[in-house]
């Protein structure tokens, strides 16, 4: 077991290396340079001044040299400095130690994703089980249709409709951001309520789109399990249906979901980019979006390596979870 873990962790290193290499190359294949923001179509910049700027960022060197320079730093856990005019260290942008924990971008994105994932599971699992046990009934069809509507609805459109209804028309919920203007003057309870209010819409929109996948997986996995012989045996023993389903079938039906959760990390982070931009949430997704727009290579690479690491970690945890849950693959 321990050996297996070591092997897996060791294997992560070349994978992560590959991820960074490919991302770096693709990034540099895209036209445009970080200096464009300052220099493009600005008659005050002479071609010489542009060259000076490019030299300053090492952009005049071949891509592979730039990659090695970046790699040299990253192995020492130095993420480098942003190319945007603030020149802040990348790590400060993602994980600003001067800010309280709840204001740091990585934390915000992480929490948003954890909460969303939690909401999705809490709804999707019972939904999947019940539609499996009521297969082909009206209930099954209604839930299936609704989760697919959620899957098919463009999230930005739904977000705007809900903002209009709950934010402008009813005035019940805040429209964007993470906290209110008067946040600092609120009591602790007030602060918590304020935060929750700000999270309701983004988490709802985010989770609504993600229900389909997990609930459908849950349904099909459940359907497969309840056709197994041991379920028949359980039923034959005269156990109540509730115990058959929730004690015997569910445990086995949940197994594929472990993998699914582990694999959903990159998708969730990708979704954060859209959600955080619409709702004005200052997380890592928003930073990634702005950095891509300005070709801020070091920041993009910093986020890529974090997301890459989280993805691999998700896979690893899924495998470990699987091993713990399923004795058959422990060897």
């Amino acid at each position: 077991m321990i050996n297996y873990l070591f092997k897996r962790i060791f294997e992560m290193i070349p994978t992560l290396f590959g991820i960074t290499l490919i991302s770096f190359m693709i990034l540099h294949l895209a036209p445009g340079k970080p200096t464009d923001v300052l220099a493009d179509f600005n008659p005050k910049i002479t071609p010489e001044a542009r060259e000076r700027l490019e030299k300053m960022y090492n952009l005049d060197k071949p891509v592979i040299v730039q990659y090695v320079l970046w790699l040299n730093k990253i192995v020492k856990f130095d993420f480098g400095e942003s190319f945007s005019s603030d020149r802040r260290p990348v790590i400060d942008k993602i994980w600003d130690k001067k800010q309280p924990l709840t204001e740091r971008r990585l934390f915000i994105t992480f929490m948003l994703n954890v909460i969303t994932m939690f909401v999705i599971l809490v709804i999707a699992i019972p939904l999947g089980i019940t539609s499996a046990t009521h297969q082909n009934t009206l209930y099954d069809r209604i839930t299936t249709t609704s989760v697919f509507i959620g899957f098919a609805t463009p999230s930005f459109w739904l977000a705007l409709l809900l903002m209009m209804f709950f934010g402008v028309y009813l005035g019940w919920l805040p429209i964007s951001g993470l906290k209110s203007m008067n946040y600092d003057s609120l009591s602790l309870a007030g602060k918590i309520i304020d935060r929750i209010n700000h999270l309701i819409l983004p988490v709802f929109v985010y989770a609504f789109g993600g229900l389909a996948g997990d609930s459908r997986y849950m349904r099909s996995s459940m359907l497969e399990v309840i056709r197994q012989d041991y379920i028949k045996v359980a039923r034959a023993k005269g156990l109540p249906e509730r115990i058959v389903i929730y004690r015997h079938a569910l445990r086995n039906a949940l197994l594929p979901l472990i993998t699914l959760i582990g694999l959903s990390v990159p998708g969730l982070i990708g979704g954060s980019v859209i959600m955080e931009s619409i709702f004005g949430i200052p997380g890592m997704g928003q930073l990634l979006f702005m950095s891509v727009m300005t070709r801020d290579y070091p920041v993009i690479m910093g986020i890529v390596i974090i997301v890459g690491f989280l993805t691999l970690l998700g896979n690893l945890l899924a495998d470990i979870g699987y091993m713990l849950a399923d004795p058959r693959i422990r060897h």
């Binding site: 220099a39 910049i45 945007s84 005019s85 603030d86 705007l160 209009m164 951001g177 619409i278």
Partner: protein
């Protein structure tokens, strides 16, 4: 001075055609907070290092310059009490105001200006605004309140360049690497506002500088919220989360035309210092011919484009200047919509529809070309579509290609791989446009990318930047506009209007050709209407 108008750039909130100002009997009062929104986050608050409009929005409230533009576009003193320009136009001597203090209490003196100047010309300073200052041969401090610069040759735009780019607190920055100081994010300035708190990705909170040299601003707080999505921003405005933002033409004409908006907000409208145009690649054999360019101009109805694309919120452009400003020549050749004339000019140039497919041809080649424009700017895309439709009527087939900005610039503009493009320039109040029209500026990354070459225009441009007298300069730039209108290297399409909206509790807004925000420190909210108290 000149920057291409990028999509989604927040328009500076300014105006002079005001729709509904209610001048009331209220007394000016201190207090309240103005909340505005931006799709982008500032990156650095030292003006000379900033490249984006968000950074300049905020840095502009924190730093002042030696001179500034008055509402009639003349140059007036800001930190400078007065100045003299030597007869040959080579030496400018500034006399600074006395007793102006940085927000940390230290007095502002001439050595701060010299320090700023030395910093901006320093090789190692990554700034986009060096060029004007490299023309200076000598800069010196004569005494505490007198600063003198000597130019290599007369340079008319020189005076206006002494704005807030070169005023830096020497006592805080001396001997430090400017890109590494805390000043970039915690600036100490001498403008009407100072930065109180910056929450990355969320908001910048500014508070008024009580000892501002022109008097304490009435509004105590200024909050700049970062809301990346424009639709979300508009909803925030409706929900009371914002007091001021720039509206799109659709929002201005339709979506804010409700009772609630009329009651709670005041809208402004004024021409932006920019114009949208269609530029031809003059190296292309067809577009070399002036008659073709003129024919296309006759076939386009500018009024129609403005009505459809901008909902009427703009004015037709006839040259590279904004109507009603001093360099603007109203009497140049105008191309009224006239498809018959267009067809006739094309016939003269040898284009006929010989095979009856509805498309003109010459030497067996159909008249078909592609208009390129950049992604994300629907105004330009829609303009292209209307032009495509209009040109089809006179037998020219137009294709439209919308490209991502970097691809557009690097692969097509820089490599000269285009036939026609739709783009916009934003322009400075100074009329010098040497970089755009002079025939020496055609190298890669330079701005005469269409390859325009006219010796008379070259000469006029050189003369224009050597002449200080406004009357004489006016003649020069009037002549340039006549030539451009005749030769049409660009088809000048329209000058859009900026359309900001401000909550109606804010009083004292005086619209002018340079907009509304120039007198922000004089805006006020009468005591009974104040909404937000600034935390001490």
């Amino acid at each position: 001075m000149l920057l291409i108008l990028l999509t989604g750039c927040k328009e500076k909130s300014v105006s002079y055609i005001q729709s509904d100002t209610k001048e009331t009997g209220y007394e000016p009062a201190y207090g309240d907070t103005l909340i505005t929104g931006s799709i982008g986050e500032p990156s650095v608050l030292i003006p000379m290092l900033a490249g984006d409009s968000a950074s300049h929005d905020i840095a502009g409230l924190i730093f002042n310059g030696l001179v500034k533009y008055d509402t009639d576009l003349s140059i007036i003193g800001d930190l400078a009490e007065s100045w003299e320009i030597s007869k040959d136009g080579l030496i400018i001597t500034f006399h600074l105001k006395k007793g102006v203090k940085w927000s940390d209490g230290v007095e502002f003196t001439a050595s701060d200006v010299l320090f700023g100047f030395n910093t901006i010309i320093d090789e190692k300073t990554p700034t986009a605004y060096k060029e004007d200052f490299l023309q200076v041969s000598k800069a010196e401090v004569l005494d505490k309140y007198t600063f003198r610069v000597t130019y290599k040759k007369p340079f008319a735009p020189a005076l206006s360049s002494w704005g807030n780019l070169v005023v830096l607190p020497e006592h805080l920055l001396k001997g430090k690497d400017i890109t590494k100081t805390t000043m970039t994010r915690e600036p100490v300035g001498l403008g009407p506002y100072k930065l109180k708190k910056w929450v990355p990705g969320q908001e910048l909170i500014l508070e008024s500088y009580k000892d501002y040299f022109e008097g304490r601003p009435y509004i105590d707080g200024y909050i700049y919220r970062i809301i990346p999505d424009p639709a979300t921003m508009f909803l925030e405005l409706q929900a009371g989360g914002l007091d001021m933002m720039g509206l799109t033409p659709l929002q201005y004409t339709k979506q804010t035309d409700t009772e609630i908006f009329k009651k709670n907000f005041q809208k402004f409208r004024y021409p932006v210092f920019s114009y949208t145009h269609m530029a031809f690649n003059l190296r292309h054999p067809w577009f070399k011919d002036k008659r073709i360019r003129q024919a296309i101009a006759y076939a386009i109805d500018k009024k129609e484009i403005i009505d459809v694309v901008l909902f009427g919120l703009g004015s037709p452009a006839t040259g590279p200047y904004v109507p009603n400003t001093w360099p603007y020549n109203p009497d140049v050749k105008n191309y009224e919509y006239n498809p018959e004339k267009a067809k006739q000019l094309l016939r003269e140039a040898g284009w006929k529809d010989t095979n009856g497919d509805g498309i003109l041809d010459k030497d067996g080649k159909p008249f078909e070309f592609t208009i390129l424009t950049n992604m994300g700017n629907n105004l330009r895309k829609n303009t292209a579509t209307i032009i495509q439709w209009r040109l089809a009527k006179i037998g020219i087939k137009v294709n439209i290609r919308v490209l991502e900005w970097s691809t557009f610039v690097n692969e097509f503009i820089d490599k000269r791989r285009f036939e026609a493009v739709i783009l916009g320039w934003s322009i400075s109040p100074d009329p010098d446009q040497y970089d755009i029209w002079h025939s020496s500026k055609t190298r890669e990354k330079e701005f005469n990318f269409i390859g325009y070459n006219n010796p008379e225009v070259d000469e006029l441009l050189e003369k224009g930047r050597r002449t200080f007298n406004t009357g004489e300069r006016k003649k020069i730039y009037f002549r340039i506009q006549e030539i451009l209108a005749e030769e049409l290297p660009y088809i000048f399409l329209y000058v859009p209007d900026a359309t900001p909206i401000v909550h109606s509790r804010f009083k004292g807004i005086k619209p002018s050709p340079i907009g509304i925000s120039y007198n922000l420190p004089k805006w006020y909210v009468p005591k009974p209407l104040q909404k937000h108290a600034m935390e001490p």
